[in-house]
């Protein structure tokens, strides 16, 4: 397949090249294959055995495939352990499509190059520079730092600081949105303390809300403020993406089911996306050791028990992510 023919046809950019959207199958829209806290690669007491990492992640991807999964989206951007050659080999070996992401955030996860550059004064990067950095990963390829560029990112991912969007987070959001608009790539955001207003920031660069997924809407604070309904009303995708999580931050699966049913009954079944935010392997932090197949294995049966039919399930697991991930060249948007 040549690049020009893929650009002419609807496609999704995976680490092994463009794939027709209807070949993705069931998509886990927000996961991480390898999750490394920036800097942990230098930690004296954390030895990373690359073969072991491969084996662990491959086992989880095979399990996902056996349970009916087709595509895993690695949504943690370009600076949290993303390893493009590893992802290529994992995809080849397991047969699971892997979509990797560009982007960074929140501010606290950035390197000093972006926050205190060697200028006087050390002004943090503006949106335009982030836009250029991310857009290159969508046109020239994803970086293997200081070595080469490989593949094409299929998603731009960024996040705001939990206590509230900072000025640098806002530059990240605007830059990420600009890169998404200029390349027809979708945008994934993790909100800070206000999902709806963060979505508004993402949409100020001319990006339609329908090209954005707002993640973390199964956080307890989002559920309390009914943020998911408002996000859906504005046309963005609703990421209910901590399926299986048992922590202080997110609601439990029972409430998560209620949230999804509520969205479907309100007519927003075409906006819902499900995932687990699982980490295949985590380095430098505890990670989230939930199977990539958690949605298929445990959550979908709960949804069915609450009356969701095959069409609804298929829409949420297959059609919605295919629609979001399809690259829309700007001239044909």
């Amino acid at each position: 397949m040549t690049l020009s023919s893929s650009a002419d046809n609807p496609h999704v950019n995976t680490v092994l090249g463009p794939v027709p959207p209807d070949e993705l199958g069931v998509v886990a829209i927000h996961e991480t294959l390898l999750s490394v806290v920036p800097g942990a690669e230098h930690a004296f007491d954390l030895a990373v055995d690359r073969a072991q990492v491969f084996e662990s992640v491959a086992a989880k991807l095979r399990d996902f495939r056996e349970q009916g999964g087709g595509t895993v989206v690695d949504s943690s951007g370009m600076f949290h352990g993303r390893d493009v050659p590893l992802y290529e080999a994992l995809s080849r070996s397991t047969g699971v499509h892997v979509v990797a992401s560009t982007g960074m955030g929140p501010e606290g996860m950035l390197g000093g190059y972006f926050l205190t550059p060697q200028t006087n004064p050390p002004t943090p990067w503006p949106a335009e520079r982030f836009a250029d950095l991310f857009a290159l990963e969508l046109t020239a390829g994803m970086v293997v730092p200081r070595v080469e560029r490989r593949g094409t990112a299929g998603l731009v991912a960024t996040a705001a600081t939990r206590s509230g969007m900072t000025a640098t987070d806002e530059s990240l959001f605007r830059g990420a949105a600009h890169a998404a608009v200029s390349t027809g790539t979708p945008l994934s955001i993790r909100y800070g303390n206000d999902a709806v207003s963060d979505l508004e920031v993402a949409c100020t660069a001319g990006l339609p809300a329908g090209r954005v997924v707002v993640g973390g809407l199964d956080r307890a604070d989002a559920v309390a403020s009914a943020a998911a309904l408002e996000v859906a009303r504005r046309g963005a995708y609703v990421g209910v993406d901590h399926v299986g999580a048992q922590d202080d931050v997110h609601v439990a699966d029972a409430e998560r089911v209620a949230l999804v049913i509520q969205l479907v009954e309100a007519g927003f079944g075409n906006r819902v996306l499900l995932s687990s935010s699982a980490t295949g392997v985590a380095v430098g932090h505890p990670g989230n050791d939930v199977p990539f197949a958690a949605v298929l294995a445990t959550f979908v049966p709960l949804l069915r028990a609450h009356g969701l039919g095959d069409d609804d399930v298929r829409q949420i697991l297959v059609d919605n992510p295919a629609g979001l991930l399809s690259v829309r060249p700007p001239d044909r948007a």
Binding site: G111, F114, L115, Q118, N120, V143
Partner: protein, 320 residues
């Protein structure tokens, strides 16, 4: 027995020869590796770097050697395997550091870490090795973040460095000597003798006026005049540049009043990693510009040898 950790193993301090005490093979801010505008091929890197080191080695022959202290922090592109190959092929002793250029160059994993963890990281890199290279760090780098005052993270790093310096015997190099009251308070609390600390960049154009160099020397600290060559007379001076004559006179004044407290270097990049660098500025400024300037100002050979050979050897020696 006096010994210094180089990337190829310990050497006797007597072997070091002329020491460039604060230099960089290549420096980039953390994250600059993601921006391909700065990328160069390994062929280009060696081509830019090897001739500078070979020249440094040749200049150093009359003094018996040549030692390049790389002050590039853990997250700034430090690349110890590369340093080992450069050292083997050029004959220049290279000393690598552990530590951070400043809190604002410590990536999230380290910026969240406790003083105890940071100290363990430094001690491990000094006594066991850096990553899988087997090479041990010979100095600890610390520094003041942009903004002029030590941040809480800067202070945690200084405290961890003091503990690691005390337990391993290697010295500490600072990036910037501003806000020295806070730095010295930490070193005192940790009981690290101040002659084990080189308070660096006391001579740069931005910070010289704000640096209490005399006071630092009076407290027993060493003072780094280690941005020699970043001059306003250059075609593309960086923002920290300073008039050549002004820096030289500052240095001469200081050395006269505080013999034994000053060390000098050029803080040059052989091949910068995440910034354009400054064209034509190399570690060889020490031999080609600074030493001639000192001689022209009447500094005798014994003083030059003391400044570039004896005092740095004492500073770098592991003090058990």
């Amino acid at each position: 027995m006096s010994r210094v950790n180089t990337v190829l193993g310990p050497v006797a301090a007597e072997e070091l020869g002329v020491v460039a005490v604060h230099e960089h093979i290549g420096y980039g801010m953390p994250g600059s590796e993601l921006d391909s505008r700065w990328w160069k091929t390994p062929e280009e890197r060696y081509e830019e770097t090897v001739p500078k080191l070979r020249r440094f080695h040749e200049h150093g022959r009359p003094y018996g050697g040549g030692t390049f202290v790389d002050a590039t922090g853990i997250c700034n592109g430090r690349d110890v395997d590369y340093y080992r190959s450069l050292s083997t092929k050029t004959g220049v002793h290279i000393v690598a550091c552990t530590g951070f250029v400043g809190g604002d160059t410590a990536l999230p994993f380290f910026s969240r870490a406790s003083v105890e963890y940071l100290a363990d990281q430094f001690v491990h890199e000094i006594t066991v090795g850096i990553g899988g290279t087997g090479a041990r760090a010979g100095v600890i780098k610390v520094g003041v973040s942009r903004g002029g005052r030590m941040t809480d993270l800067d202070k945690r790093i200084y405290r961890a460095a003091a503990r690691a310096a005390l337990s391993t015997g290697v010295p500490v190099l600072t990036h910037l000597a501003i806000d020295a009251e806070n730095a010295i308070a930490i070193f005192r609390e940790e009981a690290l003798p101040l002659d084990r600390v080189l308070f660096g960049h006391a001579d740069d154009g931005v910070n010289a006026a704000k640096t209490r160099d005399t006071w630092i020397a009076e407290q027993g600290g060493r003072v780094g005049f280690d941005t020699f060559g970043y001059e306003t007379e250059l075609d593309d001076p960086p923002f920290w540049a300073r008039p050549r004559k002004e820096r030289l006179e500052h240095f001469l004044r200081f050395v006269e009043r505080h013999p034994g407290s000053a060390l000098a270097s050029a803080d040059a990049n052989c091949s910068p990693l995440g910034w354009p660098g400054v064209k034509g500025h190399t570690v060889n400024y020490i031999f080609e510009d600074l030493m001639p300037d000192l001689r022209a100002a009447g500094v005798d050979e014994a003083t030059i040898t003391r400044l570039f050979v004896d005092d740095p050897a004492d500073f770098l020696s592991i003090h058990d």
